[in-house]
């Protein structure tokens, strides 16, 4: 198990989930001046930067089976984030009600948590440390909905 799990904001829940056989990334990295983009709500700030397993209602089917449900989805570039949003919007006309309607950005540092590697589509997960608060770090850029 990763030695930093106890430092994570949802470390206990993640450790408990791993012990039941849930999927968990094998490699993590320390973010150093890492540019990150996230989807957020313009008018419901209290819903921002909350991982899916902590949202109410959570979008879960058949229980929790992946620790990424306690992580925050990020993109490494504006273009990657816009592309993913546009793909999701073409499949889910009301996706903005679930994941947000605006794009936000901020710089991630070592003290914020641990990140997974970028996927080919530019997505990575941030597993936040206890004191991480992206509401203070991220600024809202613009609307992603027509």
């Amino acid at each position: 198990m990763n030695d930093f799990i106890e430092k994570l904001k949802y470390g206990e829940e993640i450790a408990s989930l791993i012990s039941t056989g849930a999927c968990h990334p094998t490699q993590f990295y320390e973010p150093v001046n890492k540019e990150a983009y996230r989807f957020v709500f313009r008018n419901e700030l209290d819903k921002n930067h909350i991982p899916v397993y902590k949202q109410n209602p959570s979008r879960i089917l058949n229980g929790k089976s992946n620790t990424s449900g306690y992580a925050l989805s990020c993109f490494c570039s504006k273009e990657c984030a816009e592309k993913k949003y546009s793909e999701l919007l073409s499949l889910y006309p009301f996706i903005f009600k679930s994941i947000g309607d605006h794009l936000s950005t901020g710089i991630l540092e070592n003290g914020d948590g641990r990140i997974t590697s970028d996927t080919p589509s530019g997505h990575f997960d941030l597993y936040e440390f206890v004191d991480c608060d992206l509401n203070k770090k991220f600024e809202i850029l613009y609307s992603l909905v027509g």
């Binding site: 999927c23 991982p51 209602p57 089917l61 499949l91 679930s98």
Partner: protein, 407 residues
């Protein structure tokens, strides 16, 4: 959330088992399920309010689903161009409670919920999601063989590729099970009652039955025939056996591990492992093996991609099995080279034994005395060198010959 359409109905969701999440972003958005009779269902997220997420779910033909995953049709067609003219909607809360289940005629669907007509699949199915759910459902450990690579589609594989693979996997399981059971019995040897009690359990915990063949590449999902129950967190025989299987698949990635495994088991098992990897290599297939047991909270996994099979075969090539034995035969020499010390000998005992090799230094000096029409009792030192995946090499040295006196 839009107002409700259709009529309230009951639906037994306990018959549904999740295969995978086809689209996942901060939670599932499009999920593939299968029911007990093998019918495929899709859950499609459509909306959310402060209490519920709303989903549409519908039965779908696997061919249509494959067309969607292979980007031949958009999601729009997957929902609307089915033979069934209805679907269901359901509201699901944070506690996974299902309510407001409604049967809706497809033609009555609110079109604002529907994806665009160019909504082609640009994602990858999530892996390893369903094993935990299956383990919970069957209250048992679940083993999965996931076949990937050439000619493997979402949920289908050419029979010509699958058919040779199954007996190779079963050969390995059988060999490994025999040895594992022997070792386990030896461990329990001091306790006759425990040995007797555990014999049947061991046999059943090392055999599998097919539960499903699932989509998501092509997946064979198996569970142990045995129903050994253990305390939460306690390792069962089936967990131990699954660990051995996964270790075997993992061993190919290092020469040391293969060698250790070979010492622990036997060369036949390693040969069968080699046969399997050879087959994967020539067929351009990959094989992922996974085990998940929710009761004991144990999970193992090992992936072998088609590209990695070459690396494993190279490691296996280094494994030599040398064997030296002394053979005693009665027969005639039919060729001797006194200069090089080479000889050819054949048995006269009616067993077709032949040997070609060299005399040792002392016998080479005496070879001139040999007569081709006489019968001799010989002792041959035979060294057999066998590389995994290659033909065995035999080296014979004749270390004794005496003219037979009782012919």
């Amino acid at each position: 959330m839009k107002s409700d359409l259709g009529i309230l109905v009951d639906f037994d969701f306990s018959h549904l088992t999740k295969v995978t999440d086809l689209i996942y972003f901060d939670g599932p958005l499009l999920s593939h399920y299968i029911d007990n009779s093998g019918e495929n269902y899709i859950f499609y997220w459509i909306d959310v309010n402060s209490t519920f997420n709303r989903w549409l779910f519908f039965r779908v033909d696997l061919n249509l689903l494959q067309d969607f995953v292979n980007k031949k049709i958009p999601l729009y067609d997957l929902i609307l161009n089915r033979s069934e003219l209805f679907l269901y909607s359901v509201d699901i809360d944070t506690d996974d409670q299902y309510s407001n289940i409604r049967l809706v005629l497809t033609k009555d669907l609110d079109t604002s919920y529907l994806p665009s007509q160019k909504s082609f699949y640009e994602f990858k199915p999530q892996s390893n999601l369903s094993l935990l759910a299956l383990s919970r459902k069957y209250n048992s450990g679940i083993m999965e063989f996931r076949i990937t690579g050439d000619s493997v589609n979402y949920g289908s594989i050419a029979l010509s590729k699958l058919a040779p693979l199954i007996p190779k996997i079963e050969d390995i399981r059988k060999d490994l099970a025999n040895k594992y059971i022997k070792n386990r019995r030896r461990f329990l040897a001091g306790d006759k009652n425990a040995q007797k009690d555990n014999s049947k359990t061991l046999a059943l915990d090392t055999q599998f039955e097919l539960v499903y063949s699932l989509a998501g590449s092509f997946r064979l999902v198996l569970r142990p025939i045995g129903t050994q129950t253990t305390l939460i967190g306690e390792k069962s025989f089936s967990d131990e056996f699954a660990e051995e299987i996964i270790k075997l698949f993992n061993s190919g990635f290092s020469k040391e591990s293969i060698s250790e495994f070979s010492d622990k088991y036997n060369k036949n098992l390693i040969k069968k492992y080699n046969d399997l990897i050879q087959y994967l290599n020539t067929s351009k297939l990959g094989l992922d093996v996974g085990w998940c047991n929710n009761n004991s909270q144990i999970n193992y996994a090992q992936k072998i991609s088609s590209k990695q099979t070459h690396e494993i075969l190279e490691n296996l090539m280094y494994l030599n099995y040398d064997d030296i034995e002394e053979l005693k035969y009665r027969g005639k020499f039919y060729s001797i080279n006194t200069h090089t010390g080479a000889y050819c000998f054949e048995s006269t005992e009616g067993d077709d034994f032949r040997s070609s090799g060299f005399f040792d230094e002392m016998r080479k000096q005496m070879a001139l005395c040999i007569s081709f029409n006489k019968i001799y009792d010989v002792v041959i030192s035979r060294k057999t060198t066998e590389k995994v995946g290659a033909k065995e090499k035999i080296k014979d040295v004749l270390i004794s010959f005496i003219e037979a006196v009782d012919v």
